[in-house]
């Protein structure tokens, strides 16, 4: 493989991961505020279908993407309303929406099956695209991929570098403490769930108008990405940068599966494509095992030095969720 094809392949990985990046960023924002949006798998499908339909009918890619965001925001609003206002289980409502939105997308999308529609063209950025290596890798992408790069940076800066972002961290961690510092906890939970939902909704058109252009119903192969994105959010430890890294890692593994296919002829290609999924579980295990009770007990029984070593190792891998994730807030 020449350097050029390798670079183009990697650039393809970055583009192919863009939808997942949006999804994990959206979920990260929502969970940072304390709300699990489990509807993600359905939301992505419905917004992929809706975004494609709108873009097809209006011939406007921008409107297609906006429609996807609107769909995501509305679904998230249902999750927020049911869990924050009606005190119902976030998991139950999110799960039902995941299935309902999926079926709704197949139902409403049938007229658009296999219809050729608009798709994003790549948009090399002048000058920057001529930079050796980085130019090919980063600056010969389509618009939505550039936006995905920006979104990672924006989310990271928002959470870790701005005043409202600091408060967001606080709301997810200890709502009562955020409340005495002036936060309207439940309102903010609504806001971040809906914004997070809009980002998740961007993932749909990023598929159907970008990397997997068109709408193909059940055979689109989009079913399942939402569940993957949920796992990547945990892997990302609720940090946008680490979550995006997880999304790229996942994309890279899938790409490697394709590249290695000619080499590993005895392994069926269909298997290589799903190979990243088992790896996701393994990473989940590594990330979570530090939270298990027996680990703490075992650590406590170890001699001082071994204990310190393992504790350090676990802390580096571990991701602890925002302490109030899924817990309703009521002042007194």
């Amino acid at each position: 493989m020449t350097q050029e094809t390798l670079l183009i392949g990697l650039a393809g990985v970055l583009a192919a991961a863009a939808p997942i990046v949006f999804a994990v960023l959206g979920e990260t924002l929502s969970e940072r505020a304390g709300v699990i949006n489990l509807s993600m798998n359905g939301t992505i499908l419905l917004s992929a279908m809706g975004g494609f339909a709108v873009a097809y009918n209006t011939d406007s890619l921008v409107l297609g993407f906006l429609a996807g965001m609107l769909i995501g925001a509305l679904v998230a609003l249902i999750v927020a309303f049911a869990s924050i206002t009606l005190n119902q289980s976030q998991v139950a409502v999110g799960f039902v929406l995941a299935l309902t939105c999926r079926d709704l997308s197949y139902f409403l999308g049938s007229p658009y099956m296999n219809v050729p529609g608009p798709r994003l063209a790549s948009m090399p950025i002048p000058i920057l695209s001529d930079i050796p290596i980085l130019g090919t890798l980063l600056f010969r992408q389509d618009a939505i991929t550039y936006i995905s790069f920006l979104a990672i940076i924006l989310c990271w800066v928002w959470i870790y570098r701005t005043r409202p972002g600091l408060m967001l961290q606080g709301i997810g961690e200890k709502p009562a403490a955020a409340f005495i510092r002036g936060a309207n906890v439940n309102l903010m939970r609504y806001v971040y769930t809906v914004i997070g939902g809009a980002l998740i909704g961007l993932a749909g058109p990023a598929f159907s108008l970008g990397v997997r252009a068109g709408w193909m119903g059940t055979i689109s192969g989009l079913d399942g990405f939402g569940w993957i994105a949920l796992s990547i959010t945990i892997f990302g430890g609720w940090n946008p940068a680490r979550a995006a890294f997880g999304a790229y890692l996942f994309g890279l593994l899938q790409w490697l599966g394709l590249v290695l296919q000619p080499v590993l002829t005895q392994v069926p290609s269909q298997v290589l494509q799903v190979a990243p999924f088992p790896l996701m579980i393994l990473t989940l295990l590594l990330v979570n095992i530090g939270n298990a009770e027996w680990v703490e007990r075992t650590l406590a029984a170890m001699p001082e030095r071994t204990r310190k070593f393992f504790a350090k190792l676990l802390r580096a891998m571990r991701a602890s969720p925002p302490a109030s994730l899924g817990v309703p807030f009521e002042r007194d």
Binding site: R161, T162, R163, P164, L166, M167, Q169, G170, E173, K174, A176, A177, A178, F179, I180, R181, G182, A183, S320, A323, R331, D332
Partner: protein, 496 residues
Amino acid sequence: MHVELKNINKHFGKVHANKNINLTIPSGSIQGILGENGAGKSTLMKVLSGFIQADPGSEILLDGKPVKMNSPADAIQYGIGMLHQDPLDFPPMKVLDNFLLGIPGSFFPNRKEATQDFILLTQEYGFLLDPENYVDALTVGERQQLEIMRLIFLGVRLFILDEPTTGISASQKEKLFSTLKKFPEQAMTVIFVSHKLEDVESLCDRVAVLRAGELVGEVNPPYQTKKFVEMMFGKEVTLGDKQPTKIGDTVLAMNNVALEDARLKIKDINFEIHAGEVVGLAGMEGSGQDLFMRACAGLVRPVGGKIQLKGQDLSGKSYHTYKHAGVSFLPAARLEEALVPGLTLTDHFILAEQPKGIFIDKPAGEKLAEERIKSFNIRGTPLSNVESLSGGNQQRAELALLQDPLDLILLEHPTRGLDIESVIYIWNKLKERCKQNTSIIFISSDLEEILQYSDRVLVFFNGKISNPLDANKTNVKELGQLIGGKGWADEEGSHA
């Protein structure tokens, strides 16, 4: 800041937590608020700090002007800040982020400037806090200092401190007090809420005492400990006749046991309880008695020493081993730890029988439930869900769940929140158990209950345990002083 509280009333449902409280706190003074658990201190402070709203008709005047506060953020606007007993901060975040959070300012906080502000402030007050450290690596005392810095930076002029000396070291306490004593010079007012007599005496210009939701009086220096105890716990009552207990064999023995949790360390516990004996544990909440009791139940693993039940070594064994060996634990949080909401009384009785076999004998279960409901005078039916019962009936149900025979019953606040009839009933039932050689250890914040029903009393203070006191020879005054941290000179170590 001059603070006036006028006719403060607060109801929680039927509970009247604050009754018509009137209190004036002059600017630049340190006001102490003293009272036992449940006296209404926290409610009053939550009202003053905007966390909750008092009933209509209550008035708060700051520097003569009436104010209305709907949230803690409003209170901060008026210059009122509160230091909560469990620090309301964000442990996984950095000190600097904790400091910045909630402080208004530019969209992108200037971290460099904030670091400088923070360091200057800590230097001014002589605290040593690294802004880049994580809060979960700090001690409770340091977290408190961080909160003080934050509140000062926000321009707070009335400081409310809720039990600030719990869980901090002696030197941190000294530092805290010297800091607070400087506040009046800057016209800042301090409200110091505590149950620790010594702290209140050494710090406060004036002390208001609350009992059962009412302001019972205000005291100016020089203080008399005796007076405080009397005001806090009420007049001493003459106790009914107690029957002398026949002391039997040793049931539970602790040898050099050491216990630890995040806040407290208790060392060298040596303690024995005998068959048929009742031991009361006194002390303010979080002084170590809960840790002690959970160790007796096998829920907390001792970090050192030996626990034996009737000669059998149980140290390090699981709760279920203790349970099978004849130890029963009734936690205070009835619906959280003791009972299963959603299951009926019959379900509970069936579960508690530790059943063998496969199929539930429903008629037998209901018959059992009916018997127990009758003999324990529970107001409910065999098919009532436990959460639909009143607190007193839940407590009776907990007792009715106890196996027979048992060696040791451990009770956390067995009669808290119950009417007098239930209290007497429950203790009669417990005393019957004692006659069958069961021993009892119980925690209570009601000193009269402790004196009335215990044979011996252990007092806990900050992880220290007193020598066992003969309940017939001690009194409310002595216990009150020990609970408040006085008279411990000859009690060094914890050879209970």
